[in-house]
């Protein structure tokens, strides 16, 4: 349980801490890694030479993300009516699906909940609990995809020493989450929806572009020139809402301490590197761990890990099979 609380606190903004207790299995591995006189360099190079090339998870994820957004677009354009609406609220073959954060804003602003809203929100909560909470961010949100491209450009510019990355205190996202919720309640308007690039992009794709895309462009410029993945890391309340839904999710990225060379490639590609604090040398408290609630399950670390220490896993499923 304490592990879940820790993962929740880290998501809310606290810096990851060194564990106080280690399991005996973890202790043994850590100790062996310190004393065993094996040729680490040769082993690392062996692993690197044999690692699978390409980015299979990124490709799968992009295909899924584009596919689902395309399904929204085609459902309207070609009138095939499979997935009607936009990402804030939709109907999949007639079943209500409602974005949890948008639903929350509406409930707080309107202070009245109708049955359809409750059904749609409930369905989405169950769905994203099963599939990992912030999985929504990296596998569905259209802003995530354009932000990934912006991130590539940002990293290129950082490499060329044109720009530097400015970090913020991650706790600001939690504060903003509370403020946006409070604003909805007090003003009676869904204030955050005015800003939400997820909603704006989704509607622009389906119903046609508008001035609001200018705001999305500003956000991307902010991420390219000032702060790496600034919106997703420090502001977006949607990410935090889905993160909370996914605290106990069975779908996770599993970390196997024994396989890890502690080289840190994974943390370089991660959108939320604080969830990978456990891969630092001497930081894993157990032989097998999972990345925390804030993990978007994007699989970038799985793609890049040369030694198979990070893998997608469904808790309990491996035991059943």
């Amino acid at each position: 349980m304490s592990r879940y609380i820790e993962s929740l606190m880290v998501m809310l903004g606290r810096e990851p801490r060194k564990p106080e207790k280690f399991t005996s299995a973890a202790d043994t591995i850590h100790a062996l890694k310190r004393v065993e006189k094996v040729d680490w360099v040769a082993q690392k190079e062996h692993a690197r030479a044999h690692r699978s090339q390409g980015k299979p998870w990124r490709n799968r994820r992009w295909a899924f993300l584009i596919g689902i957004n395309l399904l929204f677009v085609l459902s309207f354009w070609l009138d095939i009516q499979i997935l009607e609406g936009a990402l804030t609220a939709s109907r999949l073959l007639g079943f209500h699906l409602i974005d949890i954060n948008s639903a929350l804003q509406v409930m707080l602003a309107h202070k009245h909940i109708i049955v359809n809203l409750l059904i749609g929100t409930g369905t989405v909560i169950v769905l994203w609990f099963l599939f990992g909470g912030r999985t929504f961010c990296s596998w569905v949100c259209p802003y995530h995809l354009v932000a990934e491209w912006a991130e590539k450009l940002h990293l290129y510019l950082v490499d060329k020493k044109v720009v530097t990355d400015h970090t913020f205190n991650r706790g600001v996202r939690t504060v903003l989450w509370v403020v946006f919720a409070a604003l909805a309640w007090v003003t009676g308007y869904t204030v955050f929806e005015t800003l939400s690039p997820t909603g704006i992009l989704s509607r622009a794709l389906i119903y046609g572009p508008g001035l609001a895309l200018g705001w999305v462009a500003l956000l991307l410029a902010f991420e390219i020139f000032y702060s790496r993945r600034g919106w997703c890391r420090y502001v977006c309340p949607i990410g935090l809402t889905y993160g909370i839904v996914g605290v106990f999710s069975p779908l996770r990225v599993k970390y196997t301490l024994n396989n890890c060379f502690h080289e840190g490639d994974c943390r370089k590609v991660c959108e939320v590197p604080h969830v990978l604090e456990i891969v630092k040398k001497g930081r894993a408290s157990d032989a097998i761990m999972d990345t925390g609630a804030d993990c978007t399950r994007c699989g970038a670390c799985v793609d890049v890990c040369p030694s198979g220490a990070l893998k997608f896993d469904v808790k309990g499923l491996s035991k059943l099979m």
Binding site: S75, F76, E84, G85, A86, T88, A89, S90, R91, H96, I98, D99, S102, A103, V106, A109, H110, H112, I114, N116, L117, G120, T164, H166, T167, F168, N169, V172, V175, L176, V179, L183, A184, T187, G188, Y189, T190, V191, F192, E193, T194, L195, G199, I200, R203, I206, Y207, G210, L211, A212, G214, W215, G230, Y234, V235
Partner: protein, 281 residues
């Protein structure tokens, strides 16, 4: 930047503390911006939503904006594409549906008010929850009868309140008042709007330009009105006391906007005023 190369000018400056302080200030600035920008929606500049015509069954403006989840499902079901979504220039109205009646009015082609059925949050609703107030004059005296299904077992539209009211705002340009007739396409050959004419096809709206009119005295607003008893061409006393013909709006008007769309004068002599209520004369 290149601070490493410079010699420390002040020995007491702790770099880490300095960076921490900068980070704190940056964070405060970010929070301020993220809260400040959406609140611009409260400024009068961004309040363009206030005069917007909403789809049928819309709650009162403030409640409508708070309960709409901005998904556009109402847009998707409308057979004449009357419903559009607002842009960020309308502040909190972003993504909220509206109808520009002059371009494309709601003509109830769908018979059942599909947009209400599609709405997942009850922002468009048949039955307003009891805790929401009904403005006097917004409530319909009777459920409005849709002429297209007048002979059906259930001829009414399940609407309890009007979304607006038609008003003859420019009586001086009204063709009927001038005793003029009208021949041709109501809004010209370029007009893109659609309209359902039961006599042409009960189930399929056609372009308005494909249905030209030829009338002795212009009564386009009256003959195209989809609601029974909402408008009629009556004899009234003109300014000089002479009897003239004029469109007269009656209580069953729900504010659908068809009269505004078909009115052949430019600008329209009759328009629908959003949220206007019926005041018994």
């Amino acid at each position: 930047m290149n601070t490493e190369k410079q010699k420390p000018t002040h020995p007491l400056v702790n770099k880490r503390k300095l960076e921490d302080r900068r980070r704190f200030l940056r964070t405060m600035f970010l929070a301020g911006t993220a809260i400040g920008i959406p609140l611009l929606g409260l400024t009068p500049m961004a309040r363009g939503w206030e005069s917007r015509m909403r789809p049928p069954g819309a709650l009162d403006e403030k409640d409508f904006l708070s309960s709409c989840i901005k998904c556009g499902q109402c847009v998707q079901v409308c057979p004449v594409q009357a419903i559009k979504l607002d842009d960020i220039s309308h502040g909190f109205g972003i993504g909220v549906p509206y109808i520009d009646s002059r371009k494309q009015a709601c003509d109830f082609s769908c018979d059942a008010v599909q947009c209400i059925l599609a709405c997942p949050t009850g922002a468009l609703t048949y039955h307003k929850p009891s805790f929401l107030e009904v403005r006097p004059g917004a409530k319909m005296a009777q459920p409005p009868v849709l002429l297209a299904k007048e002979n059906d077992p259930e001829p009414t539209l399940n609407l309890a309140e009007r979304t607006g009211l038609a008003v003859l705002v420019r009586p001086e340009t009204c063709l009927a008042r001038q005793g003029k007739g009208f021949k041709g396409q109501a809004r010209g050959a370029e007009f893109k709007g659609n309209m359902r004419f039961s006599k042409v096809d009960r189930w399929k709206p056609i372009p308005l330009k494909d249905h030209p009119f030829d009338v002795e005295v212009c009564d386009l607003c009256v003959r195209t009105c989809p609601i029974k008893g909402a408008i009629s061409l009556d004899n009234i006393a003109g300014k000089d006391g002479k009897m003239i013909k004029s469109p007269v709006v009656h209580e069953p008007c729900v504010g659908c906007g068809v009269c505004e769309m078909v009115c052949p004068t430019e600008p329209a002599s009759i328009v629908v005023e959003a949220r206007k209520t019926w005041e018994a004369a």
